[in-house]
Amino acid sequence: MSAVTDPARPWRELHEAHRATRERDVAELKGAVQRRLDMLVKRGHLAPETPYRFSEKAAGGILVLGEQMGAVGLDNLADLTEAKLTVLAKLDRRRRLLHQFTAMVEGTAPDGVPWMAAVHLDDDSVEQHAGTGACGHASWHCHVGRGWEYRPEVRVPFPAVGAPAALDWLLTQIVAEHEPAPWLASPAT
């Protein structure tokens, strides 16, 4: 089978790119998340003490970030009448690896319909991969929909941009002004 026609190739390449993100920006992750939470504070969406609550708990070489912050209320969003933000990370400090990452917003649209968006990096410290494979259940993936209880649960592969940029994507869905890469030219250029 040639490489061109190998249907697994793009997914295995994406999986390798996803794996590489686990070693990137790990030490800076907490500060990167806190800066984004601070942006939400300054825009009036989060309580001022929230960035300090994005803190750590460690046991052995494993460190968990964000558990103490939990799901925090988001205020003054243009398109959601009420919403909560959760950001969590599980890291191996000694090997400087990101094992798992979760960022999600759960809320209610003005018409009363539930809405949620989440971006996940699956835990690589467990014995088995989640899902059927690198296509149907990519390591970095996102969900957008009404909630976890609704089927089908759509899992969209996410680009290998790393955790801070994945959080940027999530936040731009609810706070457009946060856009980190604004267009500078027309689409044709």
Binding site: Q34, Y52, K57, E67, Q68, T86
Partner: protein, 181 residues
């Protein structure tokens, strides 16, 4: 009981004495880089033109009135120099943060440098030690809050027998930490 997070303890240490000295203890070289990033990311460090990282007390004095992270290559020299130069840092508006290796030359010298020890009193922080949980106590706290051991709850979570939401995900990360051997 609300236990202050390592970050809150650090922030309190920096705010206890505006323009004062805080000492951050690091346990290993790889975690020193981690802690430097962590301190540098605190909002207080973005004030006064942003924080600078220096290696000597002379460089800290030359940096002027802005947040300074002093990460000395020679801890004994840095502790001695700081002990003798408290007056020169008296008019600062922004924190000076000294990084010392846990049980290293600098930290062992501190009790013998009363001026520096007094200057930093109450502002010595070991974030790594603070972050480390007492696993037995934390497992009991989990049981008291959730009604079952972390592993039992986690099995239900993975089997999707627990409703998925942000609070549930936070609890799952907590349970996974507590299932460490």
């Amino acid at each position: 009981m609300i236990v202050p997070t390592p970050t809150q303890v650090l922030v309190n240490a920096l705010e206890r004495d505006r323009g004062g000295l805080a000492i951050v203890i690091w346990p290993s070289l790889e975690l020193r880089a981690w802690l430097i990033d962590e301190v540098a990311a605190l909002p207080a460090m973005a004030e006064g033109g942003g924080a600078v990282v220096v290696k000597t007390v002379d460089d800290a004095l030359s940096a002027g009135d802005r947040p300074v992270l002093l990460v000395p290559e020679d801890e004994r020299v840095a502790v001695d120099d700081l002990d003798g130069s408290r007056d020169q840092f008296a008019e600062r508006s922004y924190p000076l943060v000294l990084f010392l290796y846990r049980d290293g030359d600098g930290e062992r010298l501190l009790p013998f440098r009363p001026s520096l020890a007094s200057w930093a009193r109450g502002s010595r922080v070991d974030p790594d030690q603070l972050a480390e949980v007492d696993l037995d106590a934390e497992r009991k706290r989990f049981f008291a809050e959730v009604g079952e051991p972390p592993m039992t709850w986690l099995e239900k979570w993975h089997a999707r027998q627990v409703p998925r939401d942000g609070a549930g995900y936070a609890r799952a990360y907590w349970a996974e930490l507590l299932c460490q051997p």
